[in-house]
Assembly symmetry: C2
Homo-oligomer: 311 residues x 2
Amino acid sequence: MVNFSYTIVGAGAIGGFYGSRLQRAGGKVHFLLHSDYQHVSQNGLLIESPEGNFTLPEVNAYRNVGDIPPSDVVVVALKTTNNHLLPKLLPPLIKDTSFVLVMQNGLGIEEEVAKIVGAQRVMGAMCFVCSNKIGPGHIRHLDYGTITIAEYLPNYQSVGITQRMRQLAADFESAGIEVLLSEDLLISRWQKLVWNIPYNGLSVVLDATTEQLMADREMRSLIEQIMQEVALGAQSWNRLIPESFIEKMLVYTTKMKPYRTSMKIDYDLGRPLEIEAIFSNPLKIAAKAGVNLPQIRMLYQQLKFLDAQNC
Amino acid sequence: MVNFSYTIVGAGAIGGFYGSRLQRAGGKVHFLLHSDYQHVSQNGLLIESPEGNFTLPEVNAYRNVGDIPPSDVVVVALKTTNNHLLPKLLPPLIKDTSFVLVMQNGLGIEEEVAKIVGAQRVMGAMCFVCSNKIGPGHIRHLDYGTITIAEYLPNYQSVGITQRMRQLAADFESAGIEVLLSEDLLISRWQKLVWNIPYNGLSVVLDATTEQLMADREMRSLIEQIMQEVALGAQSWNRLIPESFIEKMLVYTTKMKPYRTSMKIDYDLGRPLEIEAIFSNPLKIAAKAGVNLPQIRMLYQQLKFLDAQNC
């Protein structure tokens, strides 16, 4: 049984997938939509998934935040390139007991959200999922789905496991989503970057799927080096990512269905890339601790060039 | 007046340009040709250049090394990807007093040539020139032209300026080519790499001309970082490339006519890239001195991936 009420800000590949699962499990879910509003308010949502296709013919679709009743959990699932909208979007959506779940890639976003709603209202979510939006209100889930959640405290102090984390996990588990509870948001964010930085970056720069990248010996070696550099970034804040975690990510990706990364899809569609959250913020945070990450910086610079030519 | 006799092995953008200039100045020049043999033996060579277009209706064109009389100077101007042919090509072309001028990009080639003809017969040439072959026997010279020459000694010992260097310089100067004499082949090779590594590499990876690369702020910054890493490679063998040299290369390139690098042209034509000479050998030589060059290694790995997909 889903207990919290939810508002999903950004019902794309990620928000649309998880929000639909919560609603299907009986949850009260509101969807804030922009370009898909018309289609979804009339036709609902369609989810294709190896775990079973399903449709939600009726969803609570909204175009304006002012029309949405405050809910217990506000899920931020926008592209981070739209995060400049959050100062306007979030305040009307929350009530006294609400909290915001930052379901985005990259580092440093929770801090920005905390400035808007207060640090005590912020939690981070790392989704390990392959999911694409292939049309208005039409999501194709390909693989995986586990979410890791963690509380946010200023300066990434570790909080431990809270009651609301357990409640949130129970809701998602009712919806058939595996949830991992993390005591430390920062290590979980860096762990997620172990995958995102090399695969998102190189898939754009080299115009390749995960499968093509992993089939090439030099590339597999470069990916591993970059993963080790991500671990070095984590280490600059005293978070340890063991070699075994890197090995696990490489093995996962080799076994994954051939996947066009989210950044590659954005690039191919001429959309702005999530470079700041995934590349620039980690570089800045490591630099604050005096650590230089030359390969990640080079990837960042290559992406900035390609993004500027593309948009 | 041109005094030495010459054999040009590989009459493409570089060998065709310099060989033609030597012949036009009255030099005795033999051209070893492969794919262009038929065309050039019938029609000669055509050179377009901002310094004046000219044709050489008759040239000494050969298809087989056995037919070429030994000459004083054998100029190796093949793509380095064809250097596996040198053990067969060079021995018939030399006589007692001959020497071989390695007019190629990259590092470590002189050592390979020395194994074939003996170290005392080897000299290196670094061409700072924009030149393309645009058709059989048809060269388009765009910009610059200066050659730097230096003697080779095993383990890159410095030799100083020799008599035959001065004679060679006099020949090229008769042909209107500026020549710089270098006492130290290794520093000159690394200096050339300051340009070749970032521009050749990034032009292929990012599908861009020198002009596009230099117009982007992040890219200019990455190019400068990579140049500094090349200087670090030189430093690993106690050769100093000052900051002012790097600045000069950046300014030169900004002023250069928009240029598709030779590696980009090779890539666009589906030809194998000169990755070993320009990237792999410098990485190996620096590694021998215990120095790691992470950005150059990453560029090398990206190029290896693209080259493998391309050929």
